[in-house]
Amino acid sequence: MRWGMVINLSKCVRCHGCVAACRVEHFLPAKITWPRLIAWEQATEQGVEVTTYPVRCNQCKEAPCVEVCPSGATSKRPDGIVQVDQNKCVGCRYCVIACPYQNRTFLSKNKDTGYFPGHPKTAFEKKGQKLYPHQVGTTEKCNFCMERIDAGLAKGLKPGIDRAATPACVNTCQARAMTFGDMDDPQSAVSLLIKGKKGFQLHTEYGTDPSVYYIDPGVAGAASNQAPENDTTGYHIRHLSTMDERAKQIFDVGKIKVGK
């Protein structure tokens, strides 16, 4: 059993619904965002390419964050989900640095401003403090909505098929760009997509073996103009975490940016 996600880049239209659903689902504090969208826009010889990469914790099989965590707060569950135990986290932020995908956020005091700085916390925020508490001084990230998965499995539901057991972002996506399921099951929708549509992971060179795959099969019967033919390394955003000019541009102001 290994939970995984396949994201169809041809379908994502940059609507940000997944980000909003995650914020609602986990009562995320004001300046915290678990999933993000990275805007990629370039002119090439083949033409213009506009692509949006929805990124979130990759729940890596070989997770650097687990290895560097000195307190045992970050651990890997048997189903592949990398989780953070907020009660054990000492806030050292080694994991934030170790994650080659920049998918972990440290909840510092200045990120917990309340939704409306200068005003009391809203009713929703107050409910969140009880129902899904966040701890200032710890590190957070996407956990594939493991609470939904666990509660769903306990009721005999199937994650990826039954809504109540499936991550909130997958459920809300109007483009149906995300598919969730068991990557160890060769017949699951995720396994079939990865195999049939040339699924690729980001930055395979790091040897992390992410559980989030991407496909780019094109829209309306047309081939994507940039889809990697036999390349499974995700060269589209090879620059993602190498701090060169291009990467700086991606995360810089003026782009559609998320959180921070």
Binding site: S10, R23, V24, K127, A220, G254
Partner: protein
Amino acid sequence: MGERKVVLTTCKSCHGGCGVRVTVEDGVIINIEGNPDSLTKGTMCSKGLSSIQHVDNPYRLKYPLKRDGAKGEGKWKRISWDEALDTITSKMKEAIAESGPFSIAISQGTGRGYNRYTSRLARSIGTGNVISPGYVCHSPRLGLYGQVTGYGRLYCDYHGWGGEFPKTQIMWAKQLEISSADSEMAYWFMHSLDYAKNLIIIDPRASAYATRATLWLQPRPGSDSALAMGMANVIIQEGLWDKEFVDKWTYGFEELKERVKSFTPERVAEITWVPKEKIIQAARLFAVDTPGCIQIGSSIERQANCGYTLRAIICLMGLTGNIERPGSMISWVLPATGLIEDFYLQIPITDEMKKKIIGGDTFKLGAARTCNPDTMIKKIIAGEAPIKVWISVGGQQIVHMANTAEVVRAIKKVDFMVHCDLFMGPMAEAADIVLPVAHWLEMDDIYDMHPRFMIEAHNKAVEPPGEAKSDVWIFNEIGRRVAPKYWFDSVEDCLNDELKTGKISWQQFSKNLVSGCFGKDQVYYKYKTDYWRKGGGFPTPTGKFEFYSKALEALGYDPLPLYREPGESPLSTPELFKEYPLVLTSGYRQPFYFLSQYRNIPWLRSFAEYPIAQINPETAKQYGIQDGDWIWLESPRGRIRQKVRLFPGILKGVVMATANCFYPEEPAKGFHGLFISNPNVLTSNDHLDPMFGSPDLTCLLCKVSKCSKEDLTEEVFKTQEFGFVQTAGDEKAAVKSR
């Protein structure tokens, strides 16, 4: 754990329509998600999901307010609902007694559930002067579908209810995937793409779909009529038209053929900047790979040639037989509850009301049931003062209308203005009384979707803050006081009346959630049966689909499509083009904002803090502009600042500015930063579409330059009146624009 309940309702964060499931604990919303049992299958976008920060927003209006200072000064005093309603209704009665009911205007934002209340209130007091943004969004399409096919509402068949999905889809000046515009749901469109063979995007700007589509045409903004006529010419010259449909069911083919003959691919390529090969290929795909549909965007309706442009596009549908066929353009059959508009149509518009509609004598299609807002602005400025009382709900005319400086000048001259809203905003600041309105999560009402094959229930999930009330409550209360014959004892009575055709009570409908006509109940090929006309045919004067419209001819318009340049363009005003050498379009929308809304919702604002203008990197280089710079965009009317994004997906020489933006956090003075970034500071209201009166909002000329550091200092940026737009002062503006 507190007491929990689940409420099923309908989203109205855009035009609306997505099914919503809300979890409420002790009167507080703790979760919101899509309703999986609805037609949108449990999906929702960022706007609807972020409604939580709407409901919880500390800046919400909670009580009726009365102006307590000069207009636009931002000083307010809390008053009771009784005082508010008494003041409003006595002002209305005064105006009616002194100047007639026509001196009252009722205005609204885009059609999202209050159309029938604004129009009913207007008609019940005897005025046809409804101010609606319809003339720059959706109404021109409906009006011309009506002229050409006899039925005013054609929509793309994304549902496959007739056994077929569209094989070739054209998305013309629209991104339905991020907008769910006009209640055609993004989810339906994106789902239907799984069955499409060809996707053709016609857009000056690249989108994710554009760069992966079968074909992407990138026209110069404002040249769409030439493109459509060119495509029609290719279809005719190459003999690709649907011969059976054209022979049997259309009128005026020969005249159309003659009219489009000169629009050769070469000539059209020159006019539109689209390579001729692409024009030919688009025409061939749409004509050969049928069925197909064309999704038309309102950017076309924000052009002063929108009528004839739409005529040309609709002719493409007729030439290819893409009418009433499964997977093409359909006029949907109504649900058992009938036509929701009957709620106001049952009060007929009298000849006298029609006669007094402002702009009605000029814009015979656009100002037949609502007035022409731009003409009204001009008349007020000219001192004709046709409007004494202005009652406004939802919309920000002050933001979306052309030539902001003139609109502000005119609105300040209106004797008495009421605005209903959830927040203080530019329009509210111009009012004398502001009424607090409930959010869609806080009200019981009926959602009317534009395609009209269903209606849905808005069910109250939580109580509104303070004394905020639903739109229907407010309109019913005003109506009861000024025209009691037409209004109701309670909101529930009113809703029951709206549902009477379906013989269903509000209580029951609220539980059912929807009344619709879906699947096998829908009827295709209506023109082949007695549905519209005995023996078959369309409900038009000729009984046919009219390439050549005698009705338009009778109104004094050209009976055929016509190519005309925008009021200001490289071709129509070459002298002006020398000074303003870039084509500007204000068609840029972000998926997390809806028109002028949501910059005060932190979750949504986090996605793009400032309005963005996209420029081709090579054009930017010419002006020394870099990614992330603030730039001035300037036209003969004024100048604004937006943040630049270098974007290879836009043509050289074209600037795409974000539309409809103000800054809710900015002070009342200057109307919440209305003049800082709003492209309508730049647009002109001097060139209007002859049929609909629509101004050129998405095609004009501009020049750009980099902002200096001084232009962006805190004092200048935030506090200077009108956000540092020098041309916005009353007299100065008039001088400078000459």
